[in-house]
C-alpha cells in the first residue's frame, strides 16, 4: 500500500475509465455483497465491497489477485441497491481492464472452439452477452486459412450460452456443465431397464 502523492494512484487509474468514476463514494456498507450471488453460491472469497476498498487504498496487486476482479459477470443486481448509486460492476470492469492490460489472466475456464468443426455461422457470437466472440481468419491444421470463431478470454464469463446455440457442437466451456456431464447425469437417472453403457 502506498500513499505517494505525486504519481497517479490506482484509484485515479480506475476513475479515468468510464464506469469507475465514483469508486471513492463507497460507504463500505456491504449491500452489494449481500445482493450478489457469487459469494453465496460459488466463491466465498468473492467480495465487491472489498475490491472497491482495495482500489481506494491503492492495493493494486491484491485487487488483481482477488477473485472479484475476474468473476463479476456484470449482472448488476447490486447497482440498483447501492445507496451511493455506484455502478459497481463498472468499477470492477475497469479494474479488470487495467489488470488485463498489465498482463493479468482470468481464473475462469473460458469457452474454447473446436477449430476443426466450426462452420463460422456466427450464431455463438450473436448469443454471447459479453461480445467475447468474433469470427477470425485463422490457419487451421488440415483446413488451411478459414474463418472460425475466436473467444477473447478477457471478456468471456463462461456462461455457456454459445454452446447452447452452436449447431455443430464446436464451442463450449471445457470443464463445468459440459454436454457430456449433463447427459450422463440424465441417463444415470432415467436408464431404461436393460440398457447400460
Amino acid at each position: 500500500m502506498s500513499h505517494s502523492g505525486s504519481s497517479q494512484s490506482f484509484a485515479d487509474e480506475v476513475k479515468a475509465i468510464p464506469g469507475g468514476e465514483f469508486v471513492e463514494l463507497c460507504f463500505s456498507c456491504g449491500t452489494c455483497v449481500s445482493k450478489c450471488m457469487i459469494q453465496q453460491k460459488l466463491e466465498p472469497e468473492y467480495n465487491p465491497r472489498r475490491l472497491l476498498r482495495m482500489v481506494i487504498m491503492d492495493m493494486k496487486e491484491d485487487a488483481f489477485d482477488s477473485p472479484t476482479t475476474w468473476l463479476c459477470s456484470a449482472c448488476d443486481l447490486c447497482y440498483p441497491a447501492c445507496p451511493q448509486q455506484i455502478h459497481i460492476s463498472g468499477v470492477i470492469t475497469a479494474v479488470k481492464e487495467i489488470a488485463v492490460e498489465q498482463g493479468g489472466k482470468t481464473t475462469l475456464k473460458t469457452a474454447a472452439v473446436d477449430q476443426q468443426t466450426c462452420v463460422s455461422c456466427g450464431l455463438c457470437a450473436e448469443a454471447c452477452p459479453y461480445e467475447a466472440i468474433s469470427l477470425v481468419q485463422t490457419k487451421v491444421p488440415y483446413r488451411g486459412l478459414v474463418q472460425v470463431a475466436q473467444v477473447d478470454p478477457g471478456k468471456c464469463m463462461a456462461c455457456g450460452l454459445c454452446s447452447a446455440v452452436c449447431r455443430s457442437t464446436s464451442i463450449g466451456v471445457p470443464d463445468d456443465y459440459t454436454d457430456k456431464a449433463l447427459m450422463e447425469n440424465l441417463w444415470d437417472w432415467l436408464q431404461p431397464e436393460g440398457v447400460t453403457f
Partner: protein, 146 residues
C-alpha cells in the same frame, strides 16, 4: 402405491433460491425428480430437453432467475426464446407442451420451488398416461452420442 411422475429439473446455478430451499433441492429431492444444474438457463440446449423426454421423463421443469436478474445479463431471455420455439416443435410433433415448464424464481419467493414442483407433479398426473412421444426411440446400445 401410485408412481410419481418423473421430472427432470434444470436449475440455473445462480437461480435465486434462499439457503434452505437450495439445500432442499441439492439434498432432499425425491427420487422421482432429478436435479440438473447448469451455469445459466441459456446454457440449456433444446437437445437436453428432448433427450430427457425421449429417455422417459414425464416432464421437464426449467427454473431460472427473473428476466432482469440474469447473472449473465440476458442468458435467460435467450433461453426463453429457444424454449418457446421448442414448444412449437412439441406442438408440431403432437406432444403435450404442458410437460415442459419454465419458471422464474426470486430469492424473495421463499419456498416457491417446492410448491412449483408439487403443482407440476399434479399437472403431469392429470395429463394422460399415454405420454410416450410418438417418435420415441429406444436408447441405442453402447456409447451415447451427444
Amino acid at each position: 402405491m401410485e408412481t410419481k411422475p418423473k421430472i427432470a429439473l434444470f436449475q440455473c446455478q445462480w437461480c435465486l433460491y434462499s439457503e434452505p430451499d437450495q439445500y432442499w433441492v441439492d439434498h432432499n429431492l425425491p427420487p422421482s425428480i432429478r436435479l440438473m444444474k447448469v451455469s445459466c438457463t441459456g446454457r440449456i440446449n433444446t437437445l437436453h430437453i428432448l433427450n430427457a423426454i425421449q429417455g422417459g421423463a414425464d416432464g421437464v421443469m426449467i427454473s431460472g432467475c427473473r428476466p432482469e436478474k440474469c447473472h449473465f445479463k440476458e442468458g435467460n431471455l435467450s433461453a426463453l426464446r429457444q424454449h418457446e420455439e421448442f414448444l412449437n416443435l412439441l406442438d408440431y410433433i403432437g406432444y403435450e407442451r404442458d410437460r415442459v415448464r419454465f419458471v422464474w424464481l426470486d430469492l424473495q419467493d421463499r419456498g416457491r420451488i417446492q410448491q412449483e414442483l408439487a403443482d407440476f407433479e399434479n399437472k403431469l398426473q392429470e395429463l394422460s398416461t399415454a405420454n410416450t412421444l410418438a417418435t420415441r426411440i429406444n436408447a441405442p446400445e453402447g456409447e451415447v452420442h451427444v
